[in-house]
Symmetry: C2
Subunit: 203 residues, 2 copies
């Protein structure tokens, strides 16, 4: 088994690396240099026709893409610690929160990246007005997340979970492209400090 | 247990209704009239602070949102027929495909809806150039999906699954807003005919 991935700040490969670190699992990593377009080569697209990392490749050559699908598969092989939850309702809450972070926040951060950042300008037409609107929306979602976290230690389910991994990688990538957590989002900032202090965050 | 939902063509509540029909499960449905803004009321936002349907409410008042989280929870309570897969690798493939359809297709179709459609014009600023670009992209993704389906009967894993439900509801919603499957996407159209012929598609 090996994992095709890209270094920081790419958020999706990092989700899997943090997941592996929390599980104390080790999988050989194969670097796919995205700045050189390696993920769009015919050789790589034979592994994932969408030309995206990460991709997990089994020893028989079977491939699996989509970071959350990869993590859930690894959770089935290595159930402890349970990062997708330990009972049906906990699993449901973690899935809900993972999706909320992805759909409400990560999608907007991605739209800012694609439509406004100088690093992506060469990749195609940028719709800057749309991108700037998504920047405002991403900040509103961070305020919503701040209220939702409230006094909780983690995003949900009273434990560190996949939802925390998705939120951390999203917020760190947002910072990389210049979207800082609002100053007054103190509960979100405190949560970010807690999860960033875990050894896995270095992955 | 009850399900707060909205009638067709809203794609996310329909995912859950098709899922229930495939399981031959019945849950009382509570209609949330979105055109009247009922999903943005304080009463409803106490169930889902994002103001979105569907929401599953348990008898103790606990709530769960996000259509896929709801379906996965119901799958745990009622495992057969398995619509998320029957073994770790099959589950991984179905999750990958569900996410590919959501991220590559449903997100683009949603962007066309929000940014170009006359029904959504009153909800906020529309970025029409961006929306039209996403229409082109959605059609490209349908061509990609046509190639990927190839001679397969279903989206993946040799069985009807959650990935088919997500693809069907997305493509039917795309049609509703004027994005038709390309004429030459014959394998996609044949798949669409097969899954639309299932009794659950009427849900």
């Amino acid at each position: 088994m090996k994992l095709y991935n890209e270094a920081n700040p790419a958020p999706n490969p990092r989700r899997v690396r943090i997941f592996l670190a929390e599980k104390t699992l080790s999988i050989p990593l194969v670097h796919v240099p995205m700045r050189e377009g390696a993920h769009k080569s015919a050789e790589f697209k034979a592994k994932n026709s969408l030309g995206q990392v990460p991709v997990l490749e089994l020893d028989d050559g079977s491939t699996l893409s989509e970071s959350i699908a990869i993590c859930r598969y690894l959770e089935e092989l290595h159930p402890s610690p349970a990062l997708f939850g330990s009972d049906p309702w906990q699993r449901a809450q973690i899935e809900m929160w993972t999706r909320r972070i992805e759909l409400a926040l990560a999608n907007r951060v991605g739209a800012v990246w694609i439509n406004t950042h100088r690093f992506t300008a060469r990749l195609g037409t940028q719709y800057k007005d749309y991108g700037e609107a998504m920047r405002v929306r991403a900040l509103e979602v961070m305020q919503w997340l701040d209220r939702e976290i409230g006094t909780r230690e983690f995003i949900c389910a009273d434990q560190f979970s996949m939802a925390d991994i998705v939120a951390l990688t999203t917020i760190d990538f947002a910072q990389f492209i210049g979207i800082e957590m609002p100053e007054d989002a103190r509960r979100l900032r405190a949560w970010h400090g807690r999860v960033s202090a875990r050894p896995s965050a270095a992955a």
